[in-house]
Symmetry: C2
Subunit: 244 residues, 2 copies
């Protein structure tokens, strides 16, 4: 395999290999938690050197799409194991680690995408969405009220029953029940005053300061598949971030 296609801009070989691997992941050829073939095997299959496969796999590992384990193999990253979940839950108690997380379902229903939701999810206005509202408890304290919206088409049969049956981690459910893996998210944070809707579920008075987190979550290929707005009571919790 050589760089051909002069038009779609020059892409190095390892990027093309990366794309081929990503396609295998998208198609479900290799599922979350499973191992992909060894470097030598992939090199043979794609007719390139091991070094080129390595470079492609390294980038995917870096993006948390694959997980390398020396001596064992390379695995498809999963929200189910390894508490990689916590990468997407940045709220932490001020003192001590996150020990438990529980969710109480407030509501799960079908809605129509408004203009903003449609724009962010790359859909038509009015497209059917599933809207999930929940209260999350960290270490048995209710601190987050969140609303998630996802395209109904991608999540057929997502309802209260499904949610209650499969634990509290939404991204684990997306992955195991609907074959949608979240790999990246963009967040916008603001401090806002609690209104009636957000104050009550968290046991606060209206006007109390809340950390609002608006998120667009993406699957492979930077395709947006979830819109989320969360509100966190920061009395004893904070949002942790590392900059570099």
């Amino acid at each position: 395999m050589k760089p051909d296609a002069p038009f779609p801009a020059y892409q190095p070989l390892y990027r093309q290999i990366k794309l081929l691997i990503t396609e295998g992941l998208e198609s479900g050829q290799w599922k979350p938690g499973e191992s992909i073939p060894s470097e030598l095997e992939l090199a043979k299959r794609f007719n390139v050197s091991q070094g080129t496969v390595r470079k492609a796999v390294n980038e995917l590992a870096q993006e948390n799409v694959l997980v390398r384990r020396q001596g064992r193999g390379t695995f498809v990253a999963s929200h189910a194991h390894e508490r990689a979940q916590l990468a997407f839950l940045r709220i932490t108690p001020d003192a001590g680690p996150v020990a438990t997380i529980e969710a109480e379902l407030v509501e799960c229903r079908r809605v129509r995408a408004d203009a903003a939701a449609a724009r962010n999810l790359d859909l038509e206005t009015g497209s059917p969405l599933v809207r999930v509202r929940r209260v999350l408890s960290v270490n048995a304290k209710r601190v987050i009220y969140e609303e998630a919206k996802v395209p109904a088409e991608l999540f057929p049969g997502l309802d209260a029953e499904t949610l209650n049956a499969h634990g509290c981690m939404l991204y684990t459910i997306y992955e195991s029940e609907f074959h949608v893996r979240i790999v990246e998210a963009e967040e916008r944070l603001k401090a806002v005053a609690a209104d009636a809707d957000t104050a009550h579920p968290l046991g606060l008075r209206e006007g109390a300061p809340l950390l609002m987190m608006e998120r667009v979550a993406y699957t492979y290929g930077r395709r947006p598949v979830e819109l989320r707005r969360s509100f966190c009571n920061c009395a004893e919790h904070h949002y942790a971030n590392i900059i570099n």
Copy 2:
């Protein structure tokens, strides 16, 4: 050069090279904005292959310590150029990009480290610090009130005059005037209610919700050198973050 030293745990060659390069940076042998020697030159100097140097340099580039430019060379990252500054200023207008940033100095004086500051900065309680309080304007709107504390020892002569003479980017000043380069930071975000101290500089009423950002900033080798607490009025601005 071969892996020797059996005791301090096995470190691959490229990590040792990485450390040697970092030492050159810390010592000021190569200064921010300057280029470091070419890969082949470094390979000759350290008596390893170009590939090993490349691996070390790649990691440092990844950490935003070095910047690679094909055809030109490898440069020491700088807060002065390339608006790499914005990596550490996550506050953005809700609509449109950051066009201008200005700072008004509120206060600059010497203080003593309290227990918390001492712990976070790896100092003794009571150590001399310089405390800087400022109001930052983004696109000509005053939206951030911030307080930074740094060890006085590391920043001799840091005073109001210095600050007013060298523009508004603190990390650029640290770098150009005091040879302290910030490479990483940990932040904790909370929503809080404005008190008298924070409300007035931002033109808000007490009790208004503010986004509080507490930061520990690190130089090479993860040495903590700045403590910062900022408050942002989120009426028309937000904190942007990417998770993956």
